[in-house]
Symmetry: C2
Subunit: 215 residues, 2 copies
């Protein structure tokens, strides 16, 4: 029997835990990019709150890129991580819900830095539609499906009240959006090929509460 081994240097998929840490390494590398050229796993570890072994293990999944006895070239490594995360290509981001949170998200700086491009913000209230946030005018959510392709929306953020979140998600998914960041405290049904991440304030507070209760 002959086994044909896969020798591509960047593996098709990384452990999910590693993926979640890569952005932190990338941020550290961005920070030091001006001042140093080479960093050790120890330095990356200190700068990103992870152990040095963990850093090396994570980076090894990307394919070896350091030099033994020396460290990692900052620019090379940053590019490698950025490539693995897919942030070398541009992603159009749309926010749905132009309340306090939606507005905060729209004004958030440090998006653009890494491949993310805020292309539209939506609401349904007559009062908000048409108003400007930064240099984006709030559009009616009914327009989302036709806008999606034209504006190149590939990531949708849900910043609506809980009641509306599920419907918004369904429209996004039907429109072909495959990545959703949901800030509403609502379960979005799993759909094949669609990644939904949730940022949930109430949950975070309750986890903190648990830890307070423990000690």
């Amino acid at each position: 029997m002959i086994a044909i081994s896969n020798v591509s240097s960047v593996p098709r998929s990384l452990p999910t835990a590693s993926v979640a840490r890569l952005p932190r390494y990338l941020r550290y590398l961005d920070q030091v990019a001006g001042s140093i050229d080479v960093v050790s796993s120890e330095e990356i570890a200190d700068g990103s709150g992870v152990s040095a072994v963990q850093v090396r293990k994570d980076l090894s999944f990307l394919g070896a890129s350091g030099t033994r006895g020396v460290g990692y070239d900052v620019a090379t490594l940053a590019e490698r991580i950025a490539k693995a995360l897919g942030v070398l290509t541009q992603h159009g981001v749309a926010i749905v819900g132009a309340g306090n949170l939606g507005t905060a998200l729209a004004n958030y700086q440090g998006f653009a830095s890494r491949g993310f491009d805020m292309v539209a913000i939506y609401d349904v209230s007559k009062r908000s539609v048409g108003k400007k946030i930064g240099d984006l005018a709030i559009r009616h959510f009914d327009q989302f499906p036709e806008d999606a392709a034209e504006f190149g929306i590939s990531i949708g953020m849900i910043a609506t009240p809980a009641e509306a979140a599920r419907d918004v998600a369904m429209v996004m998914i039907e429109t072909g959006i495959r990545a959703i960041l949901n800030f509403a405290p609502v379960e979005i049904p799993l759909v094949d090929g669609v990644t939904v991440r949730r940022v949930d304030l109430a949950t975070e507070l309750q986890i903190l509460s648990y830890h307070l209760a423990q000690s």
Copy 2:
């Protein structure tokens, strides 16, 4: 040799992964509390996007509370989870940073529902200090240390720009705050007895980007 076993029914500490799921169960139970008295692990699972075995396993860590062949009493279970999470007692929450995000957080409803009480919001800019958000006047962050005990602040939220976040965290920690929710893209040094959780928009987007790149 005599081993003295610990027989308290609620264990001192739960697996961290379970803790993170408990708030979702609690939310589902709150939703159905009016309409049904008893739920099965299957229903909880459907309502919170987790498998039924997982639900039963998690709940078993809290000490058995269901009835075989029947299910879980909604009120009893909700109380039990709330107790384990420590949300039966009230927690004072303070926000530092009264920009877009801080304002969004301050206006966030559904805090109060579960033991969390927004008690103060801080900033350092002369323009904002004194202004009102809802019924809280923005206070100068210099006052934080003296306010902490008086206002009963036990959870601090950092919604400042990245540059200020670390210093704010240090002040909080020195003041004796033991639970911090950090929205700034900055590492907070680990301090014994202090739990820091981070909500990081840029990381979330990069994780979504990774999944987009995969498929």
